[in-house]
Amino acid sequence: MSNELLNEVTFFVLSIFVGIEVISKVPTILHTPLMSGTNAIHGIILVGAIVIAAGASSPVTIILGLVAVTLATTNVVGGFVVTDRMLEMFKGRAGRAQGAQQNQSPKPAAPVTPTK
């Protein structure tokens, strides 16, 4: 196993644990936005799509690159925007509930008790 591959495997394994740990206490109310947010993050494949598209020269690679970049960009942009739209509603309401002093005071306590 080459050094680079070994490093990659290390990152892979550690990321599994971080991924599980970091969302372990998500309340039900946020399941949909969280799914949508993680959906946007795997749009990182756009980096890969750009890498393969950059060197495209033959018709096959040009088509592959074009389609991959288009799909990946849709994933990134759509994913983040739709997540933001969902969360905007929570925030908008919290702001109004706070009335005039919304800027100084902290947001209201968690709207729901987290499950578990």
């Binding site: 592959l64 942009v77 929570f90």
Partner: protein
């Protein structure tokens, strides 16, 4: 990989982790999404200087970003809140497709005999990415009602899917060992696409969000695999984060429905059991229905009213009418709360999003565990477009497909007002005994019209 890029990728990875962390707490969720987006931009910008662009490469990247950006932004902006689930499915599917194509391009570049360490992740990414793409498109079609939303089953379905999976495995081995690349990986892709469709077909109704979440995790893994192919750390870390957190989220979602993931995926929800449940349902039972005036009076002179919103409310865009009714009742001194089932709407948390949109105060939204003991003190349980989440067969009919799912104790309220378009069964396709309960009155009609009628009736009362 030079140092600047390595550090940029590290910063991006930290952004993703912090973003996920904040996304899972109500306070910082929106901020978290923003941080993750910043991480994405950092990773993208850092990648560019490393590349040698051909003229064609530059052009296709520009075209792809413009088209994809426009489709993504417009699609996400225009979509109605009720259609969010299928939108997430769509965005997930295109990500899976992109991951598969990236792997294909890399395999082509490796030539005839790629090293195992390069061929294996590519093939993995092609298979998982294609399954995710095809499965997500079917999920989209089902939720968008381009095809029937109920499970599609046929005899021997599991066997056919098993054979498909085995064929894919065979091809994977062929590609890795024999490596006559062009044809074997094309066949592999086609098989994986077919498997993706076949895998989602038997799933329907309330289970779709769980499947979308699972496919989301799949795409994450495909992206991570493409990262191994390209030796790109950003892809490996971000993809794996999504794969891991997405898998956990999938489990949390099926837990919220009181079912195991295996049961969701292979149980053919609402189809195999529906026959039994329908047969058991006593036909010809009568239901009581009431006029808006009767119900208006009942509500106006109650002390405690619990509103149970469901997907019907979302479809009719009745969340504003519901809030209006609630405010009117509160002015008369009636205590109003909303009972939110974890899977109300079409996705967990969906109902909270919709009610938040209508400016319903947070304090009135109660989760199931919090409110279930309150129903017995409630004068009226007002069920608006919900069905399966209050169906007592989840408690007492072991043969029912939703048996074991925790439900709201709406049946314990002193009066039950069941607002529904028709007697049609709910998402799970099963009859609801609560509609025949002696304490229940039905109020038929579109949720929004009905609520508006109730508002005027309460005003008059």
């Amino acid at each position: 990989m030079n140092t600047v890029i390595a550090i940029a990728y590290l910063v991006a990875a930290v952004c993703f982790i912090l973003g996920l962390k904040q996304l899972s707490s109500p306070k910082g969720a929106r901020n978290g999404n923003f941080i993750a987006a910043v991480g994405m931009v950092i990773a993208l910008v850092a990648t560019l200087p490393l590349l040698h662009f051909t003229r064609a490469g530059l052009i296709i990247i520009a075209i792809g970003i413009v088209i994809g950006g426009a489709v993504g932004a417009v699609g996400a902006r225009m979509v109605k809140m009720t259609a969010i689930p299928q939108m997430v499915a769509l965005f997930n599917g295109v990500g899976g497709g992109a991951a598969a194509l990236v792997a294909v391009a890399e395999l082509l570049r490796f030539g005839q005999h790629p090293a195992f360490a390069e061929a294996f992740p590519s093939v993995f990414s092609i298979v998982i990415g294609s399954v995710s793409f095809a499965g997500s498109m079917v999920a989209f079609a089902k939720l968008q009602e381009l095809m029937t939303g109920t499970p599609i089953t046929y005899p021997g379905q599991q066997i056919v899917n098993g054979i498909l999976a085995a064929a894919i495995l065979g091809f994977v081995i062929a590609v890795l060992a024999v490596a006559s690349i062009p044809f074997s990986f094309l066949s592999l892709m086609v098989l994986a696409l077919v498997l993706g469709v076949a895998f989602v077909l038997p799933i329907g109704g309330a289970d779709m969000p769980v499947v979308i979440s699972l496919l989301n995790a799949f795409t994450g893994l495909a992206v991570a695999a493409s990262g191994f192919t390209l030796n790109n750390f950003a892809l490996i870390v971000a993809g794996t984060l999504v794969g891991a957190s997405g898998s956990l989220l999938t489990k949390l979602m099926s837990d919220a429905m009181g079912r195991s993931l295996a049961n969701v995926l292979f149980g053919a929800f609402g189809q195999t059991h529906a026959g039994a449940a329908a047969a058991a349902g006593k036909e010809g039972r009568s239901v009581r229905s009431a006029s808006a005036e009767d119900i208006g009076t009942l509500l106006a002179y109650s002390q405690r009213v619990i509103i149970v919103p469901g997907y019907g409310l979302a479809v009719a865009q009745a969340q504003h009418a519901a809030r209006e009714l609630a405010e009117l009742l509160e002015k008369r001194g009636v205590e109003v709360t909303y009972a939110i089932h974890p899977v109300a709407g079409r996705m967990p948390g969906h109902m909270n999003v919709l009610l938040a949109e209508a400016n319903v105060p947070y304090e009135q939204l109660k989760e199931m565990d919090e409110i279930n003991d309150e129903f017995k003190n409630a004068d009226v349980a007002l069920i608006v477009g919900a069905n399966d989440v209050v169906n007592p067969s989840a408690r007492n009919a072991p043969g029912s497909p939703i048996y074991g799912m925790p439900i709201l104790n709406a049946d314990q309220a002193k009066n039950i007002v069941f607002m529904k378009r028709s007697m049609r069964p709910g998402f799970a396709g099963i009859d609801n005994d609560l509609m025949y309960d002696a304490k229940t009155v039905m109020f038929f009609g579109d949720a929004k019209d009905s609520l508006t009628k109730l508002v005027s009736a309460v005003k008059a009362a």
